[in-house]
Amino acid sequence: MKRQIEYQQPFFCHLPKWMILLALLTLLVPSPVLAEYGDVVFNKRAEKSGMRPVIFPHWFHRIRFKCNVCHTELGFKMRAGANDIHMADIKDGKFCGACHNNQIAWGPGNCNLCHSGLTGLKSGIRGGNTTGGPGKW
């Protein structure tokens, strides 16, 4: 005896035609390939203090230092937003100030080199998760 094959229609067959057309149109629009820099925006305090947000480029720093230098020796947690950094710490030689001390790299007096972000940016890591899934980023 032949088994009855149950055929389920794909879900989109039940959708209104305009919805399908709209979905197809969005598929056809070329999506720009966005670079994934791992740039981190620091804006917990910057803008409130009248400064531009800080943009930290991972790509620039990883050419010069392996991950563990900052994520072990300097105490940066591997989670954007988990590090509570004050300018006073940096001037004391902690966090960024370990290198940004006018010896290894530019010192904390060069405000605009780090505080270079657009106003209104939210803190967090950019580029990041390209899945558009349930990511926090």
């Binding site: 990883r62 010069r64 392996k66 230098v69 270079s116 657009l118």
Partner: protein
């Protein structure tokens, strides 16, 4: 009939989209167009008076080995082939301990199994970066899934932020299951 036409249109669109995703990932002609100038990256303020002093990513990244995902740089290759020589320590006498140990994750449902190579990871990181805060030392003692990874936990701490993104399925799921594990034929 209508449904048939719609399905055909959908198939064409999906093919186009897939082609775009496949060939669009590494267009040779647009080799340097991934790395936007800082003034145009929608992060940096073009009005910042010091912006011109900062290096543009294209200058540093275009000379490194290419990758088809993430920031288009194969950082592991860049390190292995001496394109870059990043420091391992700043103050302390941190020693690089490259560990040649592969961990196989067989519990991956219908996906190929995952082989985790310690080697490529310990070239960048030291043990304490991952152990034991994120992963227990003991293999398979930490339970996690793709949902957590896509949420930026476990592997997703770096993969999707500074290492190749989780959309590169086959780069982690790269160990095919043996024939015994092949799905049974439906009949």
């Amino acid at each position: 009939m209508k449904r048939c036409i719609i399905k055909q249109i959908l198939a064409v669109c999906i093919t186009l989209c897939a082609a775009q995703a496949t060939f669009g990932a590494e267009p040779v002609s647009k080799a340097n167009s991934y790395w936007l100038p800082l003034a145009k990256d929608e992060l940096h303020d073009p009005a910042d008076p010091a912006l011109h002093l900062l290096q543009n990513p294209v200058k540093a990244l275009s000379v490194l080995p290419r990758d088809g995902a993430g920031d288009q740089v194969n950082w592991v290759k860049a390190l292995d082939n001496n394109y870059i020589n990043p420091r391992i320590n700043l103050r302390f006498n941190t020693q690089v301990e490259v560990l040649n140990l592969d961990i196989l994750f067989p519990d991956t449902n219908e996906m190929d199994m995952v082989n985790f190579p310690h080697k490529q990871h310990t070239e960048w990181l030291i043990c304490s970066n991952c152990h034991e805060e994120i992963f227990k030392y003991k293999a398979h003692a930490t339970k996690f899934g793709m949902f957590e990874i896509l949420n930026g936990e476990y592997c997703g701490r770096c993969h999707g932020a500074v290492a190749f993104p989780p959309t590169e399925c086959s780069r982690c799921h790269n160990v095919p299951r043996t024939s015994t594990a092949a799905p049974a034929k439906a009949n």
